[in-house]
């Protein structure tokens, strides 16, 4: 396809999410990477696209009772419960430190009402240290018990619209896989002004201690992450990519460049790495190196050339209308 030799170093792996330009397509998943500082001894943070901070709420939250973690086959359940000091304390004591990080910092906002989101988003987005905002709309909506914002297209639209009105910075809306039709939620988020979508948050799950006859998590239920959910996440990205035009940050079980490529080919412009950091903190940098080698081998100059290129045009003469089962 190309005649001249491309070296891996020359390959453009940058990505643009709304107004935000990132030199690397690798975001560190919210709640998995602290504020970046925790990983600084182990990773050259200047080679990380961005760190998405742990979600912050309007009021301080002690977080869930323990245990908060369970290891499961090829994955884990967590139920941290948004432990955070609340936006006022956070702005006062924590945010200034983020300026020193050698990588882009994206804030994450969670809430329990439309007003909460707008309030916290406005305060956080106003700070220079924060380059973009991710709306974590997959936490319980206290107004309608058991439901979450990301499970309802109207609630999604309302919260995104309210947050949008508070800032011009890039707004990433993080969707939940625990819905019948993620594409319809994605469309609402786009229409309401999201610049990008994060797909997916954790999958709801539970584990039971069969000696003690009780749930293994203090919170009873939790969110499943890691390689176990990767096929679920790849499909979600694939479906959302066909429903919207804004860029997608793909996530869920990415551990290798091969995994990351599934997400890019499915339609993600960037990826996020969470649980894999718990296996090996070297994963994010290794993935970028291997992505470059993969692209170089195929004579491609830019990562964005492969986004959404999974071809579904299978020709098979023996096919009835297909389905699972």
């Amino acid at each position: 396809m190309v005649n001249d030799v491309i070296t891996a170093r020359e390959i453009d792996v940058s990505v643009r999410l709304g107004k935000l330009e990132l030199a690397y397509p690798t975001l560190m998943g919210s709640g998995c990477y602290g504020s970046g500082e925790e990983y600084a001894p182990f990773v050259d943070l200047s080679k990380i696209g961005a760190v998405v901070l742990k979600s912050v709420t309007r009021q301080p939250r002690l977080g869930n009772p323990t245990p908060r973690l369970v290891h499961t086959p090829s994955g884990m359940l967590n139920a941290i419960g948004l432990q955070n000091p609340g936006i006022e304390w956070y702005l006062e004591h924590d945010v200034a430190k983020f300026a020193q990080r050698p990588c882009t910092i994206i804030g994450s906002v969670a809430g329990f009402s439309v007003d909460d989101y707008a309030y916290t988003c406005e305060k956080l987005a106003a700070r220079n240290e924060i380059k973009a905002i991710e709306l974590n709309i997959s936490c319980p909506n206290v107004a309608s018990e058991g439901e979450t914002f990301a499970c309802d297209p109207n609630l999604t639209a309302n919260v995104v619209r309210a947050a949008r009105a508070t800032t011009d910075k890039t707004l990433i809306v993080k969707l939940s896989p625990n819905v019948t039709d993620i594409a319809s939620i994605a469309r609402e988020a786009e229409r309401a002004g999201a610049d990008a979508l994060a797909v997916i948050n954790t999958v709801r799950g539970m584990a039971i201690d069969v000696d003690m006859w009780r749930p293994r998590l203090g919170n009873v239920t939790g969110g499943l992450s890691g390689p176990a959910i990767r096929p679920i996440a790849v499909l979600a990205v694939y479906e959302v990519a066909r429903a919207v035009k804004i860029p997608i940050v793909g996530q869920g079980g990415i551990e290798t460049a091969g995994d990351a490529l599934e997400f890019f080919l499915a339609g993600a412009s960037a990826i996020s790495i969470g649980t894999a950091n718990f296996t090996d903190p070297r994963v994010p940098l290794r993935i970028v190196d291997e992505l470059r080698a993969y692209l170089a081998k195929r004579g491609l100059r830019s990562l964005q050339q492969i986004v959404g290129k999974a071809n579904v045009g299978f020709a098979n003469p023996h096919q009835y209308e297909g389905d699972e089962g």
């Binding site: 998995c32 602290g34 742990k54 301080p60 973690l69 290891h71 649980t275 718990f278 296996t279």
Partner: protein, 274 residues
């Protein structure tokens, strides 16, 4: 208690020796001079699985001397099973040293309590206190004699070793904490590592004795470096180890969750609210 060493990093270590100490109990020594140089008593490491497929495993640094450090673990699940299949000459990824470690003070009489695999985290503090000239007594409990691994090693290092077994096959028959409670000698400080029920018992005995106790806690970890807030334990929010959080006046709770991996893994027993 001190904060985590800024010199922690990821070590590509070659396994130099492997010993099976008892059925399902493995000791792996590896070459990691940079780790040894900054390891403190009570430090732990996160060991990256060779397959790259499951979460890294938190393990105490058992020995740290010259170029060589070691880990000592019980095979209890998938990850420790995978680690047990590593052989000499293989490379392992070791993240650390992590955790604040034990505070080695000027106490003259020190009781160290270890339950089962807790033994892996107490050799370094034992050596450190022996070096200060303190009298160090190890209270060491396990299910059965065979699992009281490395007890001669502690004697050899200059500790007085008292043992307890659940099945009564050696030493005191019953919990090691009742052995501690029955002691004729009130120590100046207690250091303990072992399963949570044992640590709770140690806390209660220490409180009865009016002796300060440093407990090395074990929780399920994900990141091991303070990034996920998954491994927490409730402590009083006036503790020096409490994370940045509004005080009780502002949020109605005098307790806060601290990360075992980052603010710990060693806590003062009297500051815990578990």
């Amino acid at each position: 208690m001190p904060i985590v060493s800024p010199l922690a990093t990821i070590h590509n270590a070659i396994v130099t020796d492997r010993r099976v100490l008892a059925p399902g109990v493995v000791l792996l020594g590896f070459d990691a001079p940079d780790l040894v140089a900054v390891t403190r008593p009570g430090s732990f490491v996160m060991v990256v699985p060779p397959s790259g497929e499951s979460a890294a495993t938190a393990l105490g640094v058992y020995e740290a001397d010259g170029r060589r450090a070691s880990i000592l673990f019980f095979v209890v699940g998938k990850r420790t099973e995978e680690l047990s299949r590593i052989s000499e000459g293989e490379k392992i990824g070791v993240v650390g040293p992590l955790g604040n470690g034990f505070t080695i003070g000027s106490e003259r009489d020190v009781a160290i309590v270890a339950g089962g695999v807790g033994i892996a985290s107490v050799l370094l503090p034992a050596q450190a206190y022996v070096r200060t000239g303190a009298r160090v007594r190890l209270y060491y409990g396990a299910r059965t004699t065979e699992l009281l691994v490395e007890r001669e090693r502690f004697a050899h290092e200059g500790c007085e070793v008292l043992v307890a077994t659940d099945d009564g096959s050696l030493g005191h028959a019953g919990y090691v904490t009742s052995l501690l409670a029955q002691t004729d000698r009130r120590p100046d400080v207690i250091l303990a590592c072992g399963p949570t029920p044992m640590l709770r018992a140690v806390a209660s005995v220490a409180s009865d004795m009016h002796v300060p106790a440093q407990l090395s806690l074990e929780e399920t970890f994900a990141c091991g470096v303070g990034g996920c807030w998954g491994c927490v334990v409730p402590i009083v929010n006036t503790s020096a180890q409490a994370p940045s959080f509004p005080p009780a006046e502002r949020n109605g709770s005098d307790v806060v969750y601290a990360r075992v991996c980052k603010e710990g893994s060693v806590f003062w027993a009297h500051e815990l609210r578990w």
